[in-house]
């Protein structure tokens, strides 16, 4: 027996991205998901359409869920989708998993945990591979969020890849960051370290049905008791233990997320966060374009490289020369 292929499959037509825009705004699922793919692939043809879509964004509450691999992020997102859609929200989810550094392929397994979400017509769940981007997100995460925002989804949940201690990019992508900790993974020294634990607007401890959860909750509460991470905010970061398995306190988590959103809107902090998100996007894009230019090859690169190899120039002199910034060398 060999592989058998049907030959009479009709060939689909390529529809220009601009034609998809009104359908995206009207909430057509096929067009929304196609637009996200085109943003991910970086088609030049899609850039005008994405610019048009951007004009219709800024309405959604963006929630980031981050934590170590296996903490239970996908399972928690599934429970949250259930609670949020029950309240009548149209929920968007971008779930990010890592790409292979060798083949570029990826296994995107977040959907396996989202059984309840799969048939819900009020939820749009999209899996994204990092495609080489570091920091916990994929490069086109922001654009995917834009497309869902313009299509009327709110809140939009970004589930990061399983992160370590320092991947805090989510803080410049979301309005409300939930850091999910798994019980039994470390002592109170882990809790006072700098990095990911500092970025939480809401701390959640997963697997509340396990006995070790109480110790993790008290370690985090102990850390919070030492004082607020951000001095200029009146927000007190709550520490909640949740169990997606039993459904325990999922409602409390949802309420805490809602309260944070209300707090942002009432204070000056929402404007501040929007500012930070826009800043990160502009800088991130500029950095990426810069990198692309270098990857495509720029004049004089080989000469500068030779100079560095023969110890005639140091790497920072060479880099400044390539940028045409020779006179801006700072005292070193």
């Amino acid at each position: 027996m060999t592989i058998v292929t049907r030959s009479n499959k009709p060939r689909p037509v390529y529809r220009p991205s601009m034609d998809l825009v009104p359908e995206v705004l009207a909430g057509n699922t096929l067009s929304i998901s196609r637009m996200i793919s085109r943003a991910e692939a970086g088609y030049a043809e899609a850039s005008d359409a994405l610019a048009e879509i951007y004009k219709h964004t800024g309405k959604a509450h963006i929630i980031g869920i981050t934590g170590v691999p296996g903490a239970g992020k996908s399972t928690l997102v599934s429970s949250l989708i259930k609670a949020l859609t029950a309240d009548g929200h149209k929920v968007g989810v971008i779930a990010i998993d890592p790409s292979s550094p060798f083949s570029g392929g990826a296994i995107l397994g977040d959907r396996v945990r989202m059984n309840d979400a799969a048939e819900a017509t009020r939820a749009f769940v999209r899996s994204m591979a990092t495609r080489g981007h570091l920091g916990g997100l994929a490069r086109s995460t922001f654009q995917a969020v834009d497309v869902l925002d313009a299509a009327g989804y709110s809140p939009i949940i970004i589930e990061t890849v399983g992160v370590g201690q320092d991947e805090v990019e989510i803080v410049t992508a979301a309005h409300t960051v939930v850091v999910l900790s798994a019980p039994g993974l470390g002592d109170d020294i882990q809790a006072i370290k700098a990095g990911i634990l500092e970025i939480a607007d809401v701390h959640a401890v997963s697997k509340a049905d396990k006995p070790e959860a109480a110790a993790t909750v008290s370690a985090l509460q102990g850390m919070m008791a030492l004082g607020p991470v951000r001095d200029n905010s009146a927000w007190n970061t709550p520490v909640l233990s949740v169990s997606s398995y039993s459904g325990e306190r999922i409602q409390d988590l949802k309420d805490a997320i809602d309260r944070h959103w209300e707090h942002l809107k009432e204070s000056q902090e929402l404007a501040e966060r929007q500012h930070n998100i826009c800043r990160a996007r502009v800088l991130g894009t500029a950095k990426h374009l810069f990198q692309q230019k270098f990857d495509q090859g720029i004049d004089g690169f080989d000469e500068q490289l030779q100079a560095v190899m023969h110890r005639n120039a140091d790497p920072s002199v060479a880099a400044l020369a390539l940028l045409g910034w020779e006179n801006e060398r700072q005292g070193q």
Partner: protein
Amino acid sequence: MNMNMTTKDGEAAIAKTEAATPPTIRVLVAKLGLDGHDRGAKVVARILRDAGMEVIYTGLYKTPLQVVNAAIQEDVDVIGVSLLSGSHVPLFRELGRCIREQNADHIAIVAGGVIPEQDYASLMDCGVDVIIPQEARADLIVSTIRDMIAARGRI
């Protein structure tokens, strides 16, 4: 669907997609109905991952409608279904019906698992595009999918 596009617009648009990175093929690997054996599906998922594809796995016990909805939201090129339960004909018929009903028949359906040759014709009638028998070589599974997507072109 909006069909008021002229072929010329489409061609101009496709040209602007060529400079970008080569397309990443996305595949939804799914298990339909009451069939709890997913070792084969996971092995195929791994083979496709190692060939540079992005593979979304649905988990067990899905309905055809759930699979089609997931495939649309994920904008996959291919749905790969592994079935070993013997109920492949009714399940693929329902899958084919859902996919046409949702205007998503640009997505190719690949069937694998335990499928007797006598059922091949009925599966093709249901809308299955490729049938991969159990003993198929890994590299041929990959090249069959790649060739099919290359022949289809950008969408």
